[in-house]
């Protein structure tokens, strides 16, 4: 009897220990060595690496993450090349949504509907859906263009383009060394919001690409007018020009995307800005009363078709945690000055007015489709926009030519 009690005690203890071990085993997984190709900047990749370490310590001790930073177009060409070669594909791809359609078309990605709880990403999951399937999960929402201004030069953000033109001219008149307003003049991504503001779009109701409507003509005419009639933008200005001049305080207002906010808040990188001087606002309203509507999407993690087994389990576990765990989202999205893509994490306007302003600007945008044909639009609009901005092509001809060029491009797909 004495021994029986002792045996029962030992058994109960063993059972209890077994249960604890089983629970731990369920939560933990074997170490995985993952590779991610990231289009994000180095600063953001440092945060990503830190978050991976947090996940690895908790879920898969000993795991490693190799982050390979690639510029947008390099990432696209390299991934297509690796896919065609059938080797060298990473375990994850992190980038904006506009290449997802291309990768889906080329058969490189695998659908994620069965792997992730898609309902957890209510804001922008549509930007990663092609053919009714989901090909990426968002790490943040945004990638939207907005008005950014230097508060030491502009007291309040202009609410209309009329105000903006007057403000910009006033600043340059007062100080000829300072450009009132600048943006990436010949880049279609900066031009599309005007088209949307004038009521246009890239596709009609039947899904046909339509680049030759009155809205497109109006948008071309408007930007041409900004340069040649109002003369409020520099003669030539690309991304680097607007970005660099803004950071050093030589431009009062620019149009740029949320990806630049982190850089502008850092006074070492942007001596004229920082939290004190950086102001964000939605695009000013056009003469028709509508605001230009920037494309919105965010950054997405996609998974190549070749990832399977333990690697895939590791990817799903890490990405699920990174994109849905509140502390991870706060650290990775908010920590990199981006907006969260899940409803559980919100931006507090009082403690984070810059991100709150970015969120307000995001509301004025429209979702950017991941349609692979969208690239034909960008490619066809660019030379015609350049013609308009050098005053050698009329808005009407630019719209008509872009349509022909787009049809040519689509026929090659």
């Amino acid at each position: 009897m004495k021994y029986t009690k002792f045996l029962i005690l030992v058994l109960v203890t063993l059972l209890a220990l077994g249960s604890v071990t089983a629970v731990l085993a369920q939560d933990q997984m074997g170490a995985v060595n993952l590779v991610i190709w990231s289009q994000d900047g180095d600063d953001n990749n440092v945060v990503l690496a830190e978050q991976f370490q947090v996940w690895a310590d908790t879920v898969a001790p000993g795991s490693t993450l190799e982050i390979v930073q690639k510029e947008t177009e390099v990432l696209r060409t390299d991934l297509l090349a690796a896919g065609l070669a059938g080797s060298g594909l990473p375990d994850m791809v992190l980038g904006p949504n506009d290449a997802i359609g291309v990768f889906v078309d080329a058969g490189i990605l695998q659908p994620l509907d069965g792997l992730f709880d898609i309902a957890k990403y209510p804001y922008n999951i549509g930007a990663a859906q092609v053919g009714g399937e989901t090909w990426g999960v968002p790490t943040n929402a945004g990638n939207h263009l907005m008005l950014m201004y230097n508060k030491s030069l502009v007291e309040t953000a202009p609410d209309t383009w009329e105000d903006l033109i007057a403000t910009a001219k006033g600043i340059t008149e007062a100080n000829p060394e300072i450009q009132g307003f600048a943006y990436n003049l010949n880049e279609p991504f900066w031009f599309l919001p005007f088209v949307h503001g004038f009521g246009g779009s890239t596709y009609d109701a039947e899904g046909n690409m339509v680049l030759d409507s009155q809205s497109w003509v109006d948008a071309y005419a408007f930007v041409q007018n900004l340069k040649f009639t109002e003369e409020v933008v520099p003669q030539e200005c690309d991304y680097a020009c607007a970005n660099d001049l803004f950071k050093e305080g030589s431009v009062a207002m620019i149009i740029n995307g949320d990806w630049a906010i982190g850089e502008y808040l850092n006074t070492e990188q942007s001596p004229a800005l920082g939290e004190e001087n950086l102001g964000l606002a939605p695009w000013p309203a056009l003469p028709n009363g509508e605001r230009p509507m920037p494309f919105t999407a965010g950054k997405f993690v996609s998974v190549p078709n070749t990832v399977e087994g333990a690697q895939l389990d590791g990817v799903v576990s890490f990405v699920t945690w990174l994109t849905t765990d509140a502390s991870a989202v706060e650290a990775y999205a908010l920590g990199t000055s981006r907006l969260p893509a899940i409803a559980e994490v919100t931006v507090d306007a009082e403690s984070n007015p810059i991100l709150a302003a970015s969120a307000a600007a995001l509301q004025t945008g429209i979702g950017m489709p991941a349609d692979p044909t969208l690239r034909c639009m960008w490619d066809s609009v660019r030379p015609n926009l350049e013609g308009v901005m050098s005053n050698s092509v009329t808005p009407e001809d630019a719209a008509a030519e872009a349509q022909i060029a787009a049809e040519d491009c689509l026929s090659a797909l």
Partner: protein, 379 residues
């Protein structure tokens, strides 16, 4: 965590991978040569076993790095390889149910690819306008991006560059060949453009040609001229890229010609001078003929390099504005890797073969008619 980047650790890691690979390569080559020599000398009892053995690694390398890519390129021209047919050509890619992969290579694909370089092809047929005229194909997006237009622009780009390279290089070499003070310093300064990486040159000049903030317009304004929109105006942009490529190419000629000039025996000039030959006569009668073995290969190489020079144009103008600075090779790059991401590799392979044929015929005709390799053949 690992980051790709040029850190000391990354360099050491890379060296750690490369050095064993190089050692292994040397061992394999030596083993191959030893085996090959034994085969030739012992089994076939060849008299020339040693020279064949010494040439063998170069022949194998030529086969792998030159012949195989050429053959593969021809094979690609017979394919329909483009973005949405990738899954047909790669076993690891996801193949949609409606993608027909029954024929991977065919003469029909080749015909379509080659004809698309010149004509607008729709549903396998050459497209015609409402008046029944054949429509030329666009190699880029603008109406001016047809093959004849791009070939003409490439010819202008190549000719202007090569002529200026030659004339300025010759002039500078003749000056540097004189007894002048600080010759070494001048020579070093002139060679600087050649020593700077092309990417840095292109990026620097891109800034210098900026309409508002660039040095070029500041200079023009200082002399009372009107600023020019160098990178916004099609003609000005083309002039700008030509100017930079001339600036880049002159040192090559100067160095080549100077080397040639210094190898000419001065006694020829002294004898001609005693016979009363003028400077022009000495130049035409002595300098040019004796420089010919250097000049012909230099011009041939320069034509091929300039014809294929895509990097400078890409970085300075991206082919713009309005695709006006594109030449044939930039259009070719665009078809394979351009922003539309159509990845038309079959078409691009056919296009590259046409460019190869143009350059091949140029080289053959030029070298034959100029007698540039006469001395080599005469030996």
């Amino acid at each position: 965590m690992e980051f790709s980047g040029l850190s000391g650790e990354a360099i050491l890691n890379t060296l750690g991978l490369i050095i064993p690979l190089l050692i292994a390569l040397v061992v394999v080559v030596l083993a191959f040569q030893f085996g090959f020599y034994q085969l030739l000398a012992k089994a076939f009892k060849t008299k020339h076993a040693l020279p064949y053995t010494l040439l063998a690694p170069a022949a194998v390398a030529l086969l792998i790095f030159m012949i195989y890519p050429l053959v593969f390129n021809v094979l690609l021209a017979f394919s329909d390889l483009k973005r949405n047919t990738f899954p047909c050509y790669s076993p690891v890619l996801r193949r949609p149910a409606d993608l027909d992969c029954s024929v991977l290579y065919s003469p029909e694909y080749a015909a379509n690819n080659f004809l698309s370089v010149f004509f607008r092809i729709r549903n396998g047929e050459i497209s015609r306008d409402s008046e029944g005229n054949v429509q030329l194909g666009r190699l880029l997006r603008t109406p001016d991006s047809t093959f004849p237009v791009l070939l003409g622009r490439t010819a202008v780009w190549t000719a202007v560059n090569v002529i200026f390279h030659f004339v300025l290089g010759m002039a500078l070499a003749l000056i540097m060949n004189q007894k002048i003070r600080f010759k070494g310093l001048y020579r070093a300064l002139i060679v600087v453009p050649w020593a700077i990486p092309g990417v840095i040159v292109a990026l620097t000049w891109r800034q210098e040609f900026h309409a508002q903030y660039g040095f070029v317009n500041a200079l023009i304004s200082a002399f009372g001229g009107q600023p020019i929109s160098w990178l916004d105006d099609p003609t000005a942009a083309f002039i700008a890229v030509i100017f930079v490529n001339i600036w880049l190419g002159v040192p090559f000629y100067m160095v080549m010609i100077l080397g040639g000039l210094q190898s000419i025996n001065p006694e020829y000039y002294e004898a001609a001078q005693m016979d009363g030959a003028s400077a022009v006569q000495r130049f035409r009668g002595i300098t040019i003929p004796l420089l010919r073995p250097i000049l012909i290969p230099a011009v041939t190489l320069d034509v091929i390099w300039t014809f294929n020079k895509a990097d400078l144009i890409f970085i300075m103008t991206g082919g713009g504005p309005q695709e006006s600075t594109n030449i044939l090779v930039t259009a070719l790059y665009n078809a394979a890797f351009g922003p539309a991401a159509t990845s038309e590799f079959g078409f691009a392979a056919a296009f590259s073969i046409i460019i190869f044929i143009i350059l091949f015929f140029f080289a053959v005709i030029w070298i034959t008619t100029s007698g540039g390799l006469k001395e080599v053949y005469d030996r």
